[in-house]
Symmetry: C2
Subunit: 376 residues, 2 copies
């Protein structure tokens, strides 16, 4: 069962953590990434430099493999669809990736499947956005290619209309939310589903990137139950095989609305490597290889802080304050080995564990204040 040839489209940090988990079963992993200096480069048993969006490159990469997965959605789905027809196992399925690639289709999918999400209006051009002044304040989201906080703009009023994208997108009603939470859910080909404990994310005020998170989230049992139920229904609606990260808002009135999903391991699940019996990465392998899903029990409260490139620093990276971090108990840095830092680029993360919630919070504050990613 472990002798199949497996491909990953993308060799960034998520690919790297998938590779690390794959060592346990000595899986034969092939990576495709356009960046010759991608984080996976030196660790992957097989690494090929090439475009993820070019039909021929993706098709030729996949044609000698048995199972193919992704660590990024922006891939050539037509090539994956052709490979599926030839009997390759492509998980998540091309049909799932296609729906999620375009936020316009994604949002309509929620609506059609009775999955709760914020009100929205589809737009095609910047001029189009102007027609929905009655709908503001709202977020204007680019249909395709938004990533890591890019492709989202808050439009407060008509005065902000110049911020809108002049491309197909959608206006999403600004939600007055209490918390942003996420549930990572896995589904295997037999349709078995398991969820990881709900996490609570705190976003960077400007850059729309996860700044840090706590796992489990501090929410009521009722909210927790509802969040897990929505995540499970979402995985079922997509019929996805693999891991799906479901990001949600909890509104001030206790409503839960799906924000967006990612059909792969996700930033909101890095801490599962240390904190949970099965990590999201191993769970993804279990799901796509058709194996029983693992236990998601969590051993202690955990937090995760993203290490983002400091503003004003571009160039070869250096890490300040690692000593403090390594000298603190149950604080685990993970560096992605990206050669160059840029402002707000995800350069690594830190997982933190502690039985005591107050001390967990203190450690988060310590990590946030002591570590900086600078250029040399």
């Amino acid at each position: 069962m472990f002798s199949q040839k497996i491909g990953i489209l993308g060799g960034g940090q998520l690919g790297l953590m998938l590779l690390q988990a794959a060592i346990d079963w000595h899986l034969d992993i092939h990576i495709l990434d356009p960046d010759p200096e991608a984080p996976c480069r030196s660790i992957a048993p097989h690494f090929q430099q090439g475009s993820l969006q070019d039909y021929d490159t993706v098709y030729n990469f996949g044609k000698n493999l048995d199972v193919i997965t992704i660590e990024i959605e922006k891939v050539n789905v037509d090539a994956l669809a052709a490979l599926t027809e030839e009997g390759k196992k492509i998980y998540p399925q091309p049909s799932v990736i296609r729906k999620i690639q375009d936020k316009r289709i994604q949002k309509q999918f929620y609506k059609e499947n009775g999955l709760p999400t914020a009100e929205f209006r589809l737009t095609k051009t910047r001029a189009d956005v102007a027609k929905h002044a009655d709908f503001l304040p709202a977020f204007h989201k680019l249909g395709k290619d938004g990533y890591d906080g890019r492709g989202v703009q808050r439009i407060e009023s008509e005065n902000d209309l110049d911020k809108a994208f002049d491309a197909p997108g959608l206006l999403e009603k600004a939600v007055d939310f209490e918390k942003e939470i996420a549930v990572i859910v896995a589904r295997n080909p037999a349709g078995v589903i398991k969820t990881f404990p709900v996490v609570e994310m705190v976003f960077h005020p400007e850059h729309n990137l996860v700044d840090y998170l706590f796992a489990p989230a501090e929410i009521s049992e009722a909210i927790r139950f509802k969040a897990e139920e929505i995540a499970t229904r979402t995985a079922e609606a997509f019929g996805i095989v693999g891991v799906l990260a479901v990001e949600m808002f909890v509104t001030k009135t206790g409503e839960i609305l799906i924000n967006e999903v990612a059909p792969r391991p996700h930033n909101s699940g890095h801490h599962t490597i240390q904190a949970n019996a099965t990590s999201q990465y191993e769970q993804h392998w279990r799901a796509i290889l058709g194996l029983p899903l693992g236990s998601t029990v969590q051993y202690a409260p955990a937090a995760m802080v993203n290490l983002l490139g400091e503003a004003g620093h571009t160039g070869p990276a250096r890490y300040e304050g690692m000593d403090t971090l390594l000298a603190t108990e149950q604080v685990f840095p993970f560096l992605y080995g990206k050669a160059v830092t840029k402002p707000h680029r995800k350069m690594g993360h830190v997982t933190i564990m502690d039985e005591n919630l107050e001390s967990l919070r203190d450690k988060v504050a310590l990590v946030k204040s002591s570590v900086k990613v600078l250029s040399m």
Copy 2:
């Protein structure tokens, strides 16, 4: 602190788990191993095929590196000593490896340092052994090159003398022990020492290999305290930098005697990957890179079962019963990816966790009865 070039002598399963841990900090690892199909081969950023015992090979491998460690003791120590003189950091230090490589020197070292160990007599030849009939029953241990159960023979009486090795060795009084335990201890260059919780090992009746272990050991507080104290004193006596595994007997009268030590990560610490905050592998990196040692707190009771090649099977390996194992909660197989299985060869291991001790034991029994490593 993470940009040094690091070498590991040996690319077997311990090297593989060191590599896996090194991914967190994107360490630049170079591996030397005589086997072109060594487990580390496909994962190591740099892999060189070559002898670990040849002076020139080891010296040339090390001369462009900054830090060098080992995952096996049978290496050319003279080359490592020369590299130390040139300013390379060699941890464990060549002087420590030299003492441990020869069980005759190792035993005398315990005696000189007031560390408790079973009574012994040094022997040079088989004829020599015959002179110590009064000392039987005893184990005859080869001074050098014993490994994974090889190089040890029980000599019951004078009738068994033909089993003795005709090479320098020692006779060790057979200890009437209650349990075999081990403590993994780490020491960094600043002299800071941390121990992992005491584990209890059950050896294969014939092959003198760890069959399975429980962590923590079921022992009294007094024994636990004494075992940790002996392990700490042993690490201090050697002055080792890195991880040291101290295997001990607990006698029926509650005495603790050191059996032997290994100056590297060890089979008795595989479970720390899942069960402890810091694994023995990360702890080894912390120690040899001069970093603060990590917390060794354990999250739940754990067990570890070695997957040994089945008797009568030699050839390309296949694994029977993995499905049962993967369908059981908190049971984690790790396969070393060795191309060929041989009788009693270490092919992998399984870590098992459970809050409930009875259910932990049931899972150990299930793993032992369901998984087999056979040839194709």
